[in-house]
């Protein structure tokens, strides 16, 4: 009888242990984070078959309406237009920051407790450190094409602080002509299962007369089932001194003699 009771008690203890396994703190950390998995497109910037036609003008390009340029920036723009009226720019290998946040390439957000990664099909990549660190000290920080970002979660809103972004137009000439000293703050939140909304505030006294606020809206992409990356292995864009042109296909037959 005693042995039967002891066996029952041991069995109950075992069952109790199975019902309440120790929780992995790492699992709990992930469970508290939003789920932004999937592939996202800047709303209104889904290109057509030509790669250029979209539903609205992009907001972060140099010719976007409403940028509060200061007088020196305006003078610089006018000087550029005097010699380059069509604002032709050299080809770029990507979009850079901040343009990648309101561009045509699809984006992916990978959220972990320590950092959020934001990247696109042109391999523009941002690390948003959310582990409590600050930006590097001034002497350890230099401007780069994608800058240095730290962030934190304000409820389900990702708040991003970005500095040390090299003049964006040096990487891709259509980008807004901001300075290396520009300070960028973003707030992004998933407002519906298929939509992320937010805004970017740019403070750059060197080029802007006041804070510049840009809306950032993303919709879940329905035409993509994966992000596909590839190198430039067939760059046929040529330049004849006046215009960009298309180089003939390398395997094309030479034109017939007249």
């Amino acid at each position: 009888m005693m042995r039967g009771a002891a066996f029952s008690a041991a069995l109950a203890l075992c069952a109790c242990t199975q019902q309440a396994p120790p929780t992995d703190p790492r699992v709990e950390q992930f469970a508290r984070l939003p789920n932004w998995s999937g592939i996202w497109l800047a709303d209104g910037l889904e290109p057509g078959v030509d790669g250029f036609s979209v539903s609205r003008p992009p907001a972060l390009v140099v010719q976007a309406p409403g940028i509060p340029w200061n007088e020196s920036a305006m003078a610089r723009l006018q000087a550029e237009l005097a010699t380059n009226p069509e604002l032709q720019v050299k080809p770029a290998a990507g979009w850079g920051y901040p343009l990648m946040m309101d561009g045509a390439p699809p984006l992916q957000f990978v959220i972990t407790p320590e950092e959020t990664l934001i990247f696109n099909t042109y391999r523009d990549l941002r690390h948003i450190y959310t582990d409590g660190r600050e930006h590097p000290a001034e002497g350890d920080l230099w401007p780069t094409t994608w800058g240095d970002s730290v962030g934190h979660w304000d409820g389900d809103t990702l708040v991003i602080d970005t500095v040390a972004v090299r003049e964006p137009n040096k990487y891709f000439g259509i980008s807004a002509w901001l300075s290396d000293q520009a300070h960028y703050t973003e707030r992004l939140r998933m407002v519906a299962p298929d939509r992320i909304e937010g805004e970017m505030t740019v403070v750059d006294p060197a080029t802007l007369s006041r804070d510049w606020v840009v809306k950032l809206n993303y919709k879940r992409a329905d035409g993509f089932d994966r992000l596909i990356h590839d190198a430039y292995d067939n760059d046929r864009t040529g330049f004849d001194g006046d215009f960009y042109t298309i180089k003939p296909a390398t395997d094309a037959e030479p034109p017939a003699a007249p």
Binding site: G51, V54, P58, M74, Q88, G223, L227, T237, A252
Partner: protein, 129 residues
């Protein structure tokens, strides 16, 4: 200051913008042209895809056209795949020709020979990157 701002923005208003990897100002969007021909090669490549299209000219001679398209990542989103076009396919292409002239242009629309659209067109394409 406001007059300067207006002047600059007015100039920007007629400027077509650009996209990685280059600007579309090399193409004349105001003079679209229709090409009916045979695909010699479909180049599914970065930074742009191309259709090498053989077209009969006014003298009845074959001419090859270089028709530029979006990068594969954008075409993929529109339902295009590497095998969408094959050598020998008859197609009708609407292009924006090169400003410089010559047998080249930017693809605006593609259909099969009997007029069926190839790929999906995103809604409300009224602006330019």
């Amino acid at each position: 200051m406001h007059r300067i701002l207006f002047t600059v923005l007015a100039q920007f208003a007629v400027v077509t913008a650009a996209l990685a990897h280059h600007s579309p100002v090399m193409f004349d969007q105001s003079q679209p042209r229709t090409l009916t021909g045979t695909v010699r090669e479909f180049q599914w490549t970065n930074p742009h895809s191309y259709i090498q299209l053989v077209v009969k000219n006014d003298q009845g001679q074959d001419e090859e056209w270089n028709v530029e398209m979006a990068a594969p990542t954008y075409l993929y989103n529109l339902g295009w795949r590497p095998g969408t076009l094959k050598s020998g396919d008859e197609v009708i292409l609407t292009i924006a020709p090169l400003k410089k002239g010559g047998n080249g242009g930017l693809l605006l629309k593609a259909t099969t020979a009997d007029g069926k659209p190839i790929g999906r067109t995103p809604a409300a394409q009224g602006a330019t990157l």
